[in-house]
Symmetry: C2
Subunit: 253 residues, 2 copies
């Protein structure tokens, strides 16, 4: 637990550097070969796990703040984070407010104020990054979606909302460019969607729909080796992929 002196010192510094009442929390999903995880921190100062979060500097764009916060708290660099929801219930950080106000009164304690938190999310290959805890955390680690810890504050709601957003996003935006190898088979791509949705998909429907989006190139060569008929290889058409990221997938209207 922080001492009164430490908290007063942190609070005084925070007031000079950060905007009051606004925080950012990041939900980083990790995917690799059919597994999905979420990046979490175990705090040194309290029980329970939290999402990597922090505050916005006085003259900093919120998107820049999100990237900086994620890097500072987890060591993850250059992650493309996307805003997905604002968490603004009036009592959302009451638990923290009371804990902090017990040590230093609210008026002179930045951390005992009400904070409205902007949620950002990202999906990365968890084999490509190396999470590192910051000075406030004992652990910074991937937690399996089937074995989640107890979350602090409203962080479980933030996590669930990010997961719902990611799943909905599959219907209107392309995904997977940073997760698939350069060339991949349709079953490999289907596995990504099945992992995110946590459900089995019909092979034919999936193929028809994916091809209908017009973001894949079918390659000349097939995947060699193996007993079965060699499956076709595909790659993303990067130009069309980027266009669909901006405009939404061809939805067949």
């Amino acid at each position: 637990m922080l001492t009164k002196e430490e908290l007063e010192d942190f609070s005084a510094r925070a007031k000079e550097i950060y905007l009051d009442h606004i925080s950012i929390d990041c939900v980083v999903f990790g995917f690799h070969e059919g597994q999905m995880k979420v990046l979490m921190l175990k705090s040194k100062n309290e029980e329970g796990w939290q999402l990597p979060g922090g505050f916005v500097e006085l003259d900093e764009h919120i998107d820049v703040a999100a990237t900086r916060i994620l890097e500072t708290r987890t060591g993850l660099q250059d992650i493309f984070l996307k805003q997905f929801h604002v968490f603004g219930a009036n009592d959302r950080n009451k638990q923290h407010n009371e804990m902090y106000a017990d040590i230093v009164p609210t008026e002179s304690n930045f951390f005992a104020h009400r904070f409205i938190s902007i949620g950002y999310y990202a999906l990365v290959d968890f084999m490509n990054v190396n999470p590192t805890p910051d000075e406030f955390s004992d652990l910074c680690t991937w937690r399996d979606l089937n074995d989640l810890p107890v979350f602090l504050l409203d962080h479980e709601l933030i996590f669930r909302t990010a997961l719902d957003t990611l799943r909905l996003q599959l219907s209107y935006q392309p995904i997977g460019y940073n997760l698939m190898p350069k060339e991949f088979t349709m079953p490999e791509l289907q596995k990504l969607y099945e992992t995110i949705l946590d459900q089995k998909l019909d092979r034919r429907n999936f193929q028809r729909r994916m091809l209908g989006f017009g973001i894949l190139n079918k390659l000349e060569q097939t995947r060699k080796g193996g007993a079965h008929k060699a499956p076709y290889l595909y790659s993303f058409d990067l130009e069309k992929y980027k266009e669909a990221l901006k405009e939404g997938l061809k939805s067949g209207w």
Copy 2:
């Protein structure tokens, strides 16, 4: 233009009532029979038009604040507003900051602070509501999407982002329950989608897709009168509609 005394008075009151650094702006789209409009205010104190906006009270949920702000500024009651994006560029309200800081210095002027704005949007039948300007506005009125005025600050970006969100939403969420009569024909529903998307749609694709969503009931009776074959009537299956609002439309995965 506000006087120094008026601004000092407003600022002192605002500091007691509202959270610093956070604002809300509402984009209310109006639809009626193939026309689409957006609700805007013309300020008494400056040139240009703005979206109805305001601040969050110290102990108020942001969703409650959005509804209150819309009602206070436009007279529209009980509108279901949905959060869609946060606008947090560091210089987004520089234009206002400088204007207000010229009258009362920033330190003692709430309105000259940096504000991060949470965007909310709604889609209503503009024949069912009666916009009324508040004390700060000369006009509160529907502007046609094909004849938009000059927007203040970043309000054009907020409007465009809301419109993009609404268009994307057609792919993954049901729409129209509050806009269509209780019973309607497929061409009438198609007209709603065409108006929002601002493009003609293929009749057969539209019908196949809409029916595939599983949110419509086909009624026994047809629309009588007229020279052509009487078209079938449909109504929304409210239970499935609400489920799809929550879970996303059956997307065919």
